[in-house]
Subunit: 308 residues, 2 copies
Amino acid sequence: MSKTYDVIIVGAGPAGLAAAIYAGRARLDTLILEKALPGGQILLTDWIENYPGFAEGVGTFSLMDAFRAQAERFGAKIEMDEIGDLRHGEGPLWMIVGREKTYQARTVIIATGSAHRHLEVPGEAELTGRGVSFCATCDGAFFRDKIVSVVGGGNWALTEALFLTKFARQVKLIHRRQGLRAEKILQERVWEHEKIELVLDTVVDTINGQDKLESLSLRNVKTEETWDEPMDGLFVSIGMIPNTGFLGSVLELNEWGEIMVKKKMATSQLGIYAAGDVTDACSNQVAIAAGAGVEAALAVDDYINNLD
Amino acid sequence: MSKTYDVIIVGAGPAGLAAAIYAGRARLDTLILEKALPGGQILLTDWIENYPGFAEGVGTFSLMDAFRAQAERFGAKIEMDEIGDLRHGEGPLWMIVGREKTYQARTVIIATGSAHRHLEVPGEAELTGRGVSFCATCDGAFFRDKIVSVVGGGNWALTEALFLTKFARQVKLIHRRQGLRAEKILQERVWEHEKIELVLDTVVDTINGQDKLESLSLRNVKTEETWDEPMDGLFVSIGMIPNTGFLGSVLELNEWGEIMVKKKMATSQLGIYAAGDVTDACSNQVAIAAGAGVEAALAVDDYINNLD
């Protein structure tokens, strides 16, 4: 633990890399720690049409590779490590304990994102990006006039189902119970919508398909009846898990485990900022995460100028 | 005034066009009103290096043309008109009175941006983008080892001057009075900084240069002494003017005339949202404005779904 960075950014998704671009340009000594590969959750889908600046859309790998190259161009370094702990260091410094090393910095930007909760059934991993999606806003338009399913019973699942009616010919909402958890007004809309069919008391046992999704093996949990349902798209909407496990009780989180941020992406701890889907201020969109990353980096630069 | 739009976006800069991309994809009937050409303030500079996704930078015209094409691809229409008034229409509708026509919409996103206050001296308009800039974050890196000036005496001017010391060989801070308005701590840093020279009681009379900035004609307002000062870059930091003149007293503004936004870019009026530099939540950066535009469009879609 020889070196003290100006800022350590945890997570190399859109928020973290956008923050690094600005931190680098502000001449801050910047390290990004990423546990896997740079790019984040967006790489779960192949193509993005709604990141502003690419009229015809852009491959997600190519987009995130550009974010990375841009951050490195302005001096940010990326190291692969998984964070186990974040704690106070000497004076105003922060200490980050990774699997590989322990790091020290004047400020930290947490941009670890969130993970979609998975069904964890056979076929899900293999067909993700090939008919199985976790985001209707991202991928809905690919299913014009197709038949799609949404799995889930909460607000998010019903919102996804309603959104998908703009594109799909039919939307089946599959939920493991009889009752939905979503707000009544959403439920009314779903019940009344001619394109939406509810498939209740039902779970997905297997997701079938070779190169792309072909059908779902479903099971009614009350009758134990099973059947195969041909399907073009499956949207899994059973919740998000913000990646805040490593934080312990250092920062204030909301009831869903998201980091609560104030204006300028400040957290409850001086010197610690957060941006992107790990916070309570984001909506799973690359443009919003990138903007928040930029805000966090500008705030870090201000904070450091006031320390000096 | 035959037609009712789902959303009218006022202003076709980064915030407005990003909002339009998302509004279009949400299948909202979307109109953008722009008084001049799409693109916004960013077109004052030729090249942008800090918009995430373009590792080597991108021409601002090409970037904003992509924003525009992307918005149009998803169904947004752009019309040229200048807004004179925004007022309540029938029921929950809003009426926008333009020079050309009167428009009606269920929701409005105000993304009219802000304008840098100009010196309004000879040479300023001609040499903008050719040595004269309004944004050190945007253009500072082009002046590595050069001599630059900042005009202004407020927080923003001193912050710009301090930022420019990362690149420039020397920074002259020109201010028309003896006393600076900026916070004491910023003043202390500026006074102590070896690269910064203060040129007080002094105004810029003329900005000189053929294809690029060459020198400034300066005048001491106390002694009336005049002289020419060779110069590579000039940053004008005498304030921003949010473009909210047409709003009258419809929305709550802060003391600088910026629209005050809450979470999700809501304003003090139901159905009216705002995004980008016209609000109190932005920092003159394309990525932040674009993210805010996306947030506003998602909020509009939610609001309209709840109206139905």
